[in-house]
């Protein structure tokens, strides 16, 4: 049963990594094969950095950053290290998103296209701003050692909720972007099922499936990083590295039959520890 859970996790993780990688690959094929390629010249090739960097950074890397605490072979690492990796991946995603915005604004300005008129741009820019705020808040409240535990406890559920909400909004924005670009690029042909239309619709589906996989992985209570009952010696700065993990967990409560015990919080925690051991063994 433990190995089942672990295998299930591994299967979903590999699927997520694969589907995310395919999303990046499809975006590259889209701009290199169907569009004008990549460049920094104020024209189409500069615009094309926008989808490439957004799917790479704001979808794929952000998705990995969201589930990084759930990798069981990292459970022996200090919480501080994992927070640094979580923050670092999100920082990389933020930088790529900002470069991606520079590309599209620069393209618009060179091509005399107004900025910020579409719903895609309204939701997308809001998501980037909220993402940067979330990153800064996360670093100052949860990574650096100064914030009191009570403040962390108060803000953690909001941090987790905002993170998933922004991720969902980013995926919705990406799908709007694909829709916009296909209509602009293929004004009469899109409705005739051209290869580019079908290929890029498929890219949209891949991005959606990637989001669904990340959402599943991050909401399983049994795959949550366990608390560290006897590893406080490993923590470089005990008070802050301890405990502040938050997660979206699907709880099924009120089970009173024995076979439903598998879904109980207690059983999930117990499995966490066993999974932890399994995960650590797997890396040794």
């Amino acid at each position: 049963m433990v190995m089942d859970g672990y295998r299930g996790f591994l299967g979903l993780l590999v699927s997520a990594l694969l589907v995310g990688f395919l999303s990046v690959l499809f975006t590259l094929i889209w701009v290199l094969h169907y569009r004008e390629g990549l460049g920094w010249n104020g024209a189409g090739p500069e615009f094309n950095w926008h989808p490439v960097l957004m799917v790479t950074g704001f979808v794929y890397i952000q998705g990995i950053a969201i589930i990084v605490y759930r990798l069981p072979w990292t459970w022996k690492c200090s919480k501080l290290l994992m927070k640094s990796i979580h923050a670092g991946l999100n920082a990389i995603a933020a930088v790529l998103a900002i470069i991606s915005l520079v590309a599209v604004f620069d393209f618009h300005n060179h091509s005399k296209i107004p900025n910020m008129y579409s719903l895609h741009s309204w939701v997308g820019l809001t998501a980037v701003i909220l993402y940067i705020l979330q990153l800064l808040l996360g670093v100052f409240i949860f990574l650096l050692p100064w914030a009191p535990l009570s403040l962390r406890a108060l803000l953690m559920p909001i941090h987790v909720y905002s993170g998933l909400l922004i991720f969902g909004a980013v995926i919705a924005t990406t799908l709007m972007g694909v829709t916009e670009k296909l209509i602009f690029a293929l004004p009469t042909k899109y409705k005739l099922f051209p290869p580019e239309g079908i290929f890029t619709n498929t890219l949209g589906l891949l991005i959606l499936v990637f989001g669904a996989l990340i959402f599943w992985i991050v909401t399983r209570p049994q795959w949550k990083r366990p608390k560290e009952p006897n590893s406080s010696l490993l923590q470089p700065n005990g008070g802050t590295a301890e405990g502040m993990e938050g997660s979206m967990a699907i709880n099924v409560s009120n089970m009173d039959k024995s076979d439903s015990e598998l879904n109980s919080e207690a059983a999930a925690r117990k499995r966490n520890f066993i999974l932890d051991e399994a995960g650590q063994r797997s890396t040794m």
Copy 2:
């Protein structure tokens, strides 16, 4: 503190109902004031039923169906009644979504526009099909009394996850639909910030905010319907009406300071019961 939590819930509930209502209102104003109005003639007025019915049924009513177990004044009602309301609202949403699909297919066929070429249509039709499957599965597994408790326990986390995933996909699809329609209806004017563009972008934001509010309400552990420790006499068919509730709950674990107790599972349950009483008093 208890009344704080209850007031917070009420505030968010009223906000969600208001923002959802505004979304429906904005959609009506959009099609009646900016577009060709409503009708069933194979032309624009028939298409316009598509956004109206989707936002009304597939966004607003589906959103309410998702949080219906969390209304504290319903916690004295039997679980079976609440399941029937949950299923009933989702069934209404499904019927409206299907009529809405008929409208757009009929419009396309009359106007010689191909069906199912866009990413919007691919994701949207998938969401409708999955929604109907989810509804049928929900009725047969959780509402009708035949399925064994172990099967319910196994499927409930998937039911909750799928429900939220479909809801998120529906909102993403709606935003793609708004994007498509604005580009088609205002091919040269959209980028010049016309009133219709700004108004309909705002509709898109309202729908996104509605989704965010529903997502917050349904993921607070302290607002979850409590298990019924001594109300089994109220259940018309004990075994099935009991307990099978699932929810997405943000858990903040590993708190070892006293003020963080507010976020613990135990405290959340305790507050549930107090909130329950408050909710019941508020309706008497």
